[in-house]
């Protein structure tokens, strides 16, 4: 990673709609260098996509989220990766992490309704032969994600003019 790449990631993570010209000014590089660096990071799968952070609670979309702790039997030669792959292929699964501690995989699942989510766990996840147990916890409220606080906007408490 070059210093330019690191700076670009910092900036894009905050606002991926910043135009190339502004990115160039802020990093002290040329527009071409910035375009090249971003292109290269896309090709290397460092940047996977540019998506907004959405507060779904303020939309009218019905949505249920759960975090499922999954205990599994690792596969010979493949370890946990093969199991994780079997699980993350389901569309309902938003994230999968291999964890240290009392369970193996943490699976974040999203569905439209509680029933849909329950069906997913009961008829898709649990029956997998390598899954030995699950514990499902529903998300009740999101407070902060990716460094963004979801509650009321924080105000600037600074004096408007100070020496």
């Amino acid at each position: 990673m070059t210093k330019l790449e690191t700076s670009l990631l910092d900036l894009l993570r905050e606002d991926c709609r910043l135009p190339l010209e502004k990115l160039a000014v802020m990093t002290g590089a040329s527009v071409e260098e910035v375009a090249e660096a971003i292109d290269s990071m896309e090709k290397r799968h460092i940047i996977l996509r540019y998506s907004p952070m959405i507060n779904w609670d303020l939309t009218d979309r019905e949505r249920v989220e759960a975090m499922i702790e999954v205990r599994v039997t690792p596969q010979r030669d493949m370890g946990f990766d093969a199991v994780a792959r079997r699980i993350y292929r389901f569309d309902e699964v938003k994230s999968v992490y291999l964890m240290s501690g009392s369970y193996d995989l943490l699976v974040l699942v999203e569905a439209h309704t509680l029933k849909e989510l329950a069906t997913f766990v009961a008829s898709k996840l649990s029956p997998l032969e390598m899954v030995t147990g699950t514990a499902t916890s529903f998300v009740l409220k999101r407070y902060k994600e990716e460094g963004v606080v979801f509650e009321n906007e924080e105000t600037d408490r600074r004096l408007v003019i100070s020496p």
Binding site: D15, L18, M26, G28, V160, S162, P163
Partner: protein
């Protein structure tokens, strides 16, 4: 009742801060975007806040030693040594104060006598000249120019020195200009200081906010300058701790002990929780390579470049400010004075900047814009300013 006859004439004679009037004006406009602030837009890193919270939970609510918590002074000594190569004995040469502001005030009061002249680069932070007057001295402005990137030059300094000159205030990186002094610039100043047997108050509160490969050089680290320098620094800018009010002064034992005399009678000690927080700031910084400072500095630098480039695009002269978090463009091309520019900009475009004249007469023709504000707000403010400037060119 007529209070005139009771009031201290010397203090009453100092005009109210030029910032004050503008503050009232800007405060009345609720939706204005302010580029007029003089503090970080970051909050104090949570680790530091947490240390102060724990100290309250543990009931640490007593006075500390007058000079500050010993552990804090030890950390300050380590910090100054590690960052700037300065050696101060924590027990006799370091005094923890209520912000760098108190340090400046008591340094002036400890040194200045009636009739003494104190050399103050102009434009500069608003409190130096009044502080000199309060202490009974006469502030002598030393004009700095955009053509020199607002650095203090030996020639200007030499011209301002008189037999009554006692002290030079050296405020770099500078508020409001963002100017820095490189080692070779400081060395020339050092020669003048030596020649005229001056003492120096080096206010280095912005020492950590310096960009584009430049490094901060502490004046006391120059040959021969250690015994002549009172180094002042603090936590407000580097660690985003403005409201905690913790700073410090370091220097010769003899001077620090006189400063401490004023401090102990007037103040007793800096607030304990502020000191605890400052201690956490330095300790964690030393352990993690000052990562919070580095992250904030990177973030300021990007916004600095954005602002400088936008002003130049508007057709305004803008020198490259390598320090602090201010840009100090010239608005003279618009034909407006600093005051007119800022008032009209506020009224017409709801953007607040500070007239350069608030920082001394040689700030005329310039405005101070602070880039410690969210990028999206800076962008909106800059677009509005571009409109405004175009209309006046």
């Amino acid at each position: 009742m007529n209070y005139e006859q009771y009031l201290n004439r010397r203090i009453a004679s100092v005009p109210p801060s030029g910032i004050r009037r503008f503050f009232d004006l800007a405060s009345s406009r609720k939706d204005a975007i302010s580029l007029g602030v003089g503090e970080p837009d970051f909050k104090t890193p949570y680790l530091i806040r947490d240390a102060a919270i724990n100290s309250l939970v543990d009931g640490e609510t007593q006075y500390t030693a007058n000079r500050g918590l010993p552990e804090l002074r030890q950390e300050i000594a380590l910090y100054l040594n590690g960052r700037y190569g300065l050696s101060y004995d924590w027990s006799t040469q370091i005094l923890v104060t209520i912000g760098a502001s108190e340090a400046i005030d008591i340094a002036l009061r400890a040194l200045v006598e009636n009739g003494d002249e104190v050399l103050v680069p102009d434009p500069s932070y608003v409190s130096y000249a009044p502080g000199v007057t309060f202490a009974g001295g006469t502030p002598v402005p030393v004009t700095t120019f955009q053509k020199d990137d607002f650095r203090l030059t030996a020639e200007s300094l030499e011209r301002a020195v008189t037999p009554r000159s006692k002290l030079l205030i050296l405020p770099y990186p500078n508020n409001p200009t963002g100017a820095i002094m490189e080692k070779q610039d400081l060395e020339k100043i050092a020669r003048v200081v030596e020649k005229h047997d001056l003492l120096v108050i080096s206010d280095e509160i912005y020492s950590e906010l310096i960009y584009d490969g430049h490094t901060h050089v502490s004046f006391a680290s120059l040959e021969g300058m250690y015994p002549r320098t009172i180094t002042i620094n603090g936590f407000s800018k580097a660690f985003a701790m403005t409201g905690w009010r913790v700073g410090y002064a370091c220097g010769a034992e003899e001077i620090i002990s006189v400063m401490n005399k004023i401090h102990q009678y007037a103040i007793m000690c800096a607030p304990r929780q502020g000191q605890v927080a400052a201690l956490a700031a330095l300790r964690t910084g030393r352990e993690n390579g000052y990562e919070s400072i580095l992250a904030m500095r990177d973030s300021y630098d990007r916004r600095r470049r954005l602002m400088v480039s936008a002003f130049r695009e508007m057709g305004l002269d803008c020198f490259d400010p390598f320090g602090a978090f201010y840009v100090f463009p010239s608005v003279s091309r618009t034909g407006l004075s600093s005051e007119e520019f800022c008032s009209q900009l506020l009224q017409e475009k709801d953007v607040a900047a500070v007239p350069g004249t608030a920082f001394g007469p040689s700030g005329e023709g310039h405005i101070r814009c602070c880039y410690a504000t969210a990028i999206d707000k800076i962008n909106i403010a800059l677009e509005r300013m571009a409109d405004f400037v175009q209309h006046h060119l």
